[in-house]
C-alpha cells in the first residue's frame, strides 16, 4: 500500500477571468491525506477548497504542481480513469434514470455482469437505507433521499477515495446533523478515505479526523479538530473556527513557549503561549476563547489562586442562554471582550450572576491564552 491516499504537492490553479485577467484559485497547496482518513477542507467560499477537490477528481488540471492518488501521479488523467468518486453538491443525479439505474451506472461502465450489478446495487441501497426505493425517479425523492442516492452511486464503485463537495449544504439543519453522524459512521464502516469540502466549521469539527483550513487559495493550518480549535496558528483560523477574543500588543519577553505581551492601549502585561517564534518588540495578537475566560469579583475575595493573568473589566450586558451565561465586558479604551460562564452552579438566585456595571477580574489561563504572529 502506498504511503498516502492522496497527496497534493505544491499545487497551483490559475483560472482566466472573462475580462482577460487571471485569478489564482489554489496557491501552492501541499496536502498529505492518509488512508482511511476523514479529511476536511474547510474555509469560506472562494478559498480554493472546491477547486482542490475538483482537481483530485480530474475535472480540473493543476496549472503547476502534481496530485498523487495512491502514489500515482495524476497529471492529465481524465476523471473516468481515476479511482476516486465524487458526491456533488447538487447531487447531479441522472433525472431520466431510476434510483437503481443511477446506482448501477458506475458498475455498467466497468462492464460488470447484470447479476453482480443487482447484488451490489441492493447492498449499496441497503447501506444508505434506501431499500425498496430502487424504482423511483430522483425527483420523486426528498432532498435527504437524493443525497443518499448520490452517496450510494459513488460508494458502489468502492473507490479508493470518496470526494464530497458540501454534500449536506442543501439539507435543513436537523437533517444535516443526522446525516453528519450517519456519514461519519458510514465512513468508519466502509473504511474508505473521505475528503470532505465544507464551509461549516461545526460540521468539520464533528466529523473529521483532520482538517485543512483554507483561505485565499492557501492552506493556513492542517491538524486534528482539537489542534485547530485549541491551538490555532493564526488570526484567521482562530477567528473562523468558533468564537474568540482578540487583544493587540507587542512582545515584552520570550521565555521558550511563554510569551509576555504588553497590551499597548491598556498598559497591562499578559502572558500567553506563543504560536510560532517571536522576537522582542514584535506586534502580536493575543487570542482567548470566551469559554476559557474565568470571571471573579474585584474584591479579591473570590480571586482564583495560582492565576496571575488577569485584566479588569466592567460588565456591559449579560445574556442567559441556559447552558451558560454570556457576559459582555468593556475593558476601557474601546476594548470589548466576551466570556461564556458555564452554569455549573444550580441556583435560581439572580444575585448569583453578574449584573450590568459590576467591575470584575477577567482571568486568562496561560495555557488557553494564545499569542499569534500578526499585529
Amino acid at each position: 500500500m502506498s504511503e498516502y491516499a492522496v497527496e497534493m504537492q505544491n499545487v497551483v490553479k490559475i483560472f482566466p477571468t472573462p475580462e482577460g485577467g487571471e485569478v489564482t484559485a489554489v496557491d501552492h497547496v501541499t496536502l498529505r491525506i492518509q488512508h482511511g482518513e476523514f479529511f476536511s477542507l474547510l474555509g469560506p467560499s472562494g478559498c480554493g477548497k472546491t477547486t482542490s477537490l475538483r482537481m483530485m477528481a480530474g475535472f480540473e488540471w493543476p496549472t503547476e504542481g502534481e496530485i498523487y492518488i495512491d502514489s500515482k501521479a495524476m497529471g492529465r488523467i481524465p476523471p473516468y480513469l481515476r479511482t476516486v468518486n465524487t458526491v456533488f453538491q447538487s447531487y447531479a443525479l441522472f433525472q431520466h434514470m431510476s434510483v437503481f439505474q443511477n446506482v448501477a451506472f458506475g458498475l455498467e461502465m466497468e462492464n460488470v455482469n447484470k447479476a453482480e450489478i443487482s447484488r451490489h446495487v441492493a447492498n449499496a441501497l441497503e447501506m444508505v437505507k434506501l431499500t425498496g426505493m430502487d424504482r423511483r425517479k430522483p425527483r420523486q425523492l426528498s432532498g435527504g433521499q437524493q443525497q443518499r442516492v448520490a452517496l450510494a452511486r459513488a460508494l458502489v464503485k468502492r473507490p479508493a477515495v470518496l470526494l464530497l463537495d458540501e454534500p449536506l449544504g442543501a439539507l435543513d439543519l436537523k437533517l444535516r446533523k443526522e446525516m453528519q453522524l450517519e456519514l461519519k459512521a458510514l465512513q468508519e464502516h466502509v473504511g474508505i478515505t473521505f475528503i470532505y469540502v465544507t464551509h461549516d466549521q461545526e460540521e468539520a469539527l464533528t466529523m473529521s479526523d483532520r482538517i485543512a483550513v483554507m483561505s485565499q487559495g492557501k492552506t493556513l493550518q492542517i491538524g486534528t479538530p482539537l489542534e485547530i480549535y485549541e491551538r490555532p496558528n493564526c488570526r484567521f483560523v482562530a477567528d473562523f473556527i468558533g468564537e474568540t477574543n482578540f487583544l493587540k500588543g507587542t512582545v515584552k519577553k520570550v521565555d521558550k513557549e511563554k510569551v509576555t505581551v504588553l497590551l499597548t492601549s491598556l498598559s497591562k502585561e499578559i502572558e500567553g503561549l506563543g504560536q510560532g517564534s517571536f522576537i522582542f518588540g514584535q506586534d502580536v495578537t493575543v487570542s482567548i476563547r470566551p469559554e476559557k475566560i474565568r470571571l471573579a469579583d474585584d474584591t479579591g475575595a473570590g480571586a482564583l489562586k495560582g492565576l496571575e493573568n488577569f485584566l479588569h473589566a466592567k460588565v456591559v450586558r449579560t445574556a442567559y442562554v441556559g447552558s451558560d451565561t454570556r457576559v459582555f465586558l468593556d475593558l476601557g479604551k474601546d476594548i470589548k471582550m466576551r466570556a461564556w460562564e458555564q452554569n455549573h452552579v444550580s441556583t435560581l438566585d439572580p444575585d448569583a450572576y453578574y449584573a450590568v456595571g459590576d467591575v470584575v477580574r477577567v482571568y486568562m489561563p496561560i495555557e488557553n491564552t494564545l499569542v499569534l504572529p500578526e499585529g
Binding site: A57, F88, A92, H96, F105, G106
Partner: protein
Amino acid sequence: MADVQTSKVKFSFSTQLRENPVAQGLALISPTFLYLLIFMILPMLLVAILSFMMRGSYGNIVYRFSIGNYTRLADTLYLRILAYSLGVGLATTIFTILIGYPLAYYIARAPTRQRSILLFLILVPFWTNFIIRIYAWIMILRTEGFLNTLLLNLGLINVPLDILYTPTAVLIGMAYEFLPFMVLPLYTSLEKIENAQLEAAADLGARPWRAFLRVTLPLSVPGMIAGSILVFIPAMGMFVVPDLMGGAKTILVGNLIRNQFLVSRDWPFGAAASMLLMILTLAFTLYYTRKAGFGGEELLI
C-alpha cells in the same frame, strides 16, 4: 334601480377577473381563440364539407354529397404520391436531426456570450424571402452553378453533377428551410443539461461517447421530438421546394393539393386530399409522441 344592477354586474365581472383563475384564463386566450375560430376552424370545416361535394364540368362545385373524392384517393397514383411525401417528410426530419444536432450541441456548449450571437445567426436566413433563398439554391445547384463550377475547377469531377431537379435537391432545400425549427428546440433541451451531469458520468467511469449516449442523448429527446414535429408536419405539406427545386418530376401531396385547387380547379378533390394529409400527420404525430412518452408529465417538467 336598473343602474344599480348594471354596476353590480360590472363589479362582479371585474372581481371575477381578479379572483377567478378560470375567468383569467378565458380572458387571456379569447383573442387567440376567436382568431383561430374565424381563420382556422371555420375554414377547416368548410374544407371538410367541401371534400364531400362534387366537381361540376366547368370547375364549379356541385353541392351534392359524395364520398367519391376519397375513393379516388385510393388510386395507386395518389397513394404513391402520399407515400413519397411521407418519405420526404421523414427524410427531411432525419436529415435535419443529423446536421442540426451537432450544431445545437456546439451552441449549447459555447460560452454564454457567444451563444446569443450563434442563435441569432441561425435566424438570419429568415430575413430574406423564402422564394429568393430557394432561387439562391438553384443558382448554387444548377448544372453551370457555383457548386459544379467549383468542383470542376478543383478537378474533383469531370462532368457536372445533376443535382437540381432531383429528389436530392428537394431534400437539400427542405433541410435548409426547416433546419432552424430543429436546431432551436434541440438547443433548448441541450442547454438545460447541467455540466455536473456530464461530470458525474465521467466521474463514474463513462468515457465521453458513453456519457453522450447514456446522459446527453436521452436528456435531449424532448427537444428532438419537438423539433421533429415542427419539421415533419410542414415538410409533408410543402409544395414550393419540390416545385422549384424538384422540377416537374417530384410531386408531393402538397403539390397535388395545390394543383387541384389552382390548376385542375377540382376543389372537392383537393379538399379531400387536404383532409387525408391532415389526418395522416395528426395520427403520425400522436403515435410518435405517445411512443416517446412525450406529453407525459415527466418530460414536460
